[in-house]
Symmetry: C2
Subunit: 423 residues, 2 copies
């Protein structure tokens, strides 16, 4: 079946875009009846790919903020997470997907507990999702819960690449929560099964220092590389603290860095060294919001702006991380991290795009579209979102929104034992 | 005339809020017919006060980004500004006010050319505005244009305090654009006429170093204080580079700092030392977005998030700048900078508030309202905006929006000689 989206403004031209089997099948000059009637065309732009999330943590948004890391985890997040269950994760993932769709995002690379619930949520919402077979051996409660073991077994039956809307990745959480032998085993399985790896790397100075002490002076990047975990199908969140050698290893292996500047600022992890790792080091880059407990938004607009501004202040160079580059990282960079031909509006690419309100104040006057999107736009500019040719939001309406919000409030109350202000 | 806003959620209670003569005259339990019918109440929160803007620069949004300061100014901004005219500034200020209203802001402290146009724009849009009698003696083209001299004369007839919706301030641009004698003269006039002062201070390291060289080792803050410019009616934008002595002087004089973290990051000026100046130093604080050429958004949501995150990363302390403090700075802090009893929803305070969509995803589940507003919310959450008891936006509709956008596009094209992508 062909879906046609009419009277769109693409790079200054009025076009109609046709989608078939999830792919853009035709881009043609806008049909006369639309172009002639003076109805202004709507801007069409690539949608966003959010490459590091903990979706169900949307339920913990605002539950504990402005705290030191360990009190935050031990006194707030972990006790709440001890009450997680399949239906709670489902409700949280749906809220997160609603938030993402509204802000123009069509894909999440997620890592969390009870992943089969995330699979169902993604299918019900029509989004693309990389869902993790997560491994955490130490840290926090419930890590060896048999239900989680069963969940990962269930996930193992999923496809492993982005030609499927929902696919599974291996996700050893981090070097400080998974032991060396398990990391080796996961690396071997991921290689054997040609599966993406999703891992937190070099997020804090403490992680790097501990790694050096425990692993013969090696950095987390060098350590993971020695264990066979780095390669072009490895997606590494954070990477805040990198040596020049780390940058070389990452570039050489083709592993992808996912920047999470807002989370890194909020938790005082540090600023990602964009200029050194990307502009000079040539590493591959995608953007992610991290979870709502440490951001607390899943909007890629805000993440893009933080990426551009933090790169400048970190490098001392206002020409660093120009808007067009940042916008490409948030779109095509994220898609390419998972081998998906998307993030460009072109025949043959995935039919994933956002249609914007052309007269939204932040997009006016409109000298430079990438600049407007990175520095000025926000969720309020998004009118319609299309993923794999299907409409996820039309004119600001996401089907079932009211029920999603209501279920999320109930689930959040169960998770924390506290009533929410909005309920 | 009394205006009544019904079925609102204020700090967990369902209330009706009545406004009379621009002030909140009554807050009473929501009338039964609304409360009983199951219609969910809408959240009401204080509106924002944007304390440092160059409104008409909205026309230059996206015109020149990601550049070094001097090429940016000399090759792009100043040549465009040479084409400014009264009607261009009017169109730009209207676009900026549209953008502000949509994002929940009811006041701007503006500094720009052709200020009488800004006065008209504020009156036409129903916003509060502090409009500057700007003085720039050097730097850029057109600084001594007789039309600007006439504009400032016209402004001198305006009231000087926030009991009027639109009032005039003295705005010596900065120490590097206004000579010592003129600064002294302006300080004397502001004192005699009991008028607010609006000035850029210690924005860049270069400014501080030059000041020390030219003014006997004094910092910009010490120099301005010696000239008599600092006092409780002085509003100082940026203040990125402050010594401990500077902080003491600012706290002692009661001058107000306006943080502009996004602009400071984009232009690589540095990060405002929030912990030292505010939490330890006890200085008064308000927030501002700066102009759209260096931000490029006027949304106070984005500015609040930057304020909270930058304070944390600058101080290395994740408990620094908690959300409730940042939200107060963006609301009551800004109002108090100009002696306006506003930024709190209380009988007797100005009837300025934003009504939010309670089910907007970023506000769900709703554990902590300040946290949700600072870290998660954006323009898309705002439903209705009230200023001095009058409705500026209702259910997302700002009257005349289409004409404002269209006029802004025309004005931007005249300013730059370039067509815009949106037109």
């Amino acid at each position: 079946m062909e879906n046609v989206f009419r009277n769109l403004l693409l790079d200054g031209r009025r076009v109609d875009i046709a989608a078939e089997n999830g792919v853009i099948s035709r881009i043609s000059p806008a049909a006369e009846r639309d172009a002639g009637q003076g109805e202004p065309p709507r801007l069409v732009v690539p949608a966003f790919y959010n490459c590091h999330t903990h979706l169900a943590m949307d339920l913990l948004r605002g539950y504990a903020d402005d705290l030191e890391l360990m009190p935050w985890l031990q006194d707030h997040i972990w006790p709440a997470e001890a009450h997680l269950a399949d239906d709670i994760v489902y409700a949280g993932a749906r809220l997160a997907m609603l938030e993402m769709i509204r802000s123009g995002t069509v894909f999440a690379n997620d890592m969390y507990w009870y992943a089969p619930a995330v699979v169902r949520a993604a299918r019900d919402m029509g989004m693309r999702c990389a869902v993790s077979m997560q491994t955490i051996e130490t840290g926090g409660p419930g890590r060896n819960d048999p239900k989680n073991v069963a969940a990962n077994k269930e996930l193992a039956a999923l496809p492993r690449d982005a030609s499927s809307m929902v696919f599974a990745t291996y996700a050893p959480h981090a070097i400080y929560t998974v032991c060396e032998q398990t990391l080796r085993n996961i690396a071997a399985k991921a290689r054997d099964e040609d599966t993406f790896l999703h891992v937190h790397v070099a997020e804090t100075r403490f992680e790097v220092e501990t790694c050096r002490k425990e692993h013969g002076g090696r950095t987390p990047v060098a350590y993971l590389n020695d264990l066979g975990l780095l390669g072009p199908k490895t997606v590494m969140a954070h990477c805040v603290h990198l040596t020049d050698d780390d940058v070389r290893i990452i570039a050489d292996t083709g592993a992808v860095i996912v920047e999470n500047q807002q989370s890194n600022m909020k938790l005082v992890s540090g600023l990602f060294p964009y200029k050194r790792a990307i502009e000079k080091g040539g590493c591959r880059l995608a953007l992610g919001t991290d979870g709502a407990s440490s951001n607390n938004s899943l909007s890629m607009f805000a993440e893009m702006k933080a990426a551009a501004l933090c790169a400048k202040i970190e490098s001392g160079d206002p020409t660093c991380a120009p808007a067009a580059d940042v916008y490409r990282h948030a779109t095509r960079g994220g898609a390419q991290a998972f081998g998906l031909d998307a993030g460009e509006i072109r025949v043959g690419a995935a039919a994933d795009f956002a249609i914007l309100k052309p007269d939204a104040a932040p997009l006016v006057p409109g000298f430079n579209r990438a600049s407007d999107l990175v520095y000025a736009a926000d969720t309020s500019c998004v009118d319609t979102v299309v993923c794999a040719g299907s409409v996820l939001m039309e004119h600001g309406i996401v089907p079932g929104e009211e029920a999603i919000v209501s279920a999320a409030r109930d689930a959040a109350a169960r998770l924390t034992g506290a009533a929410t202000a909005g309920s």
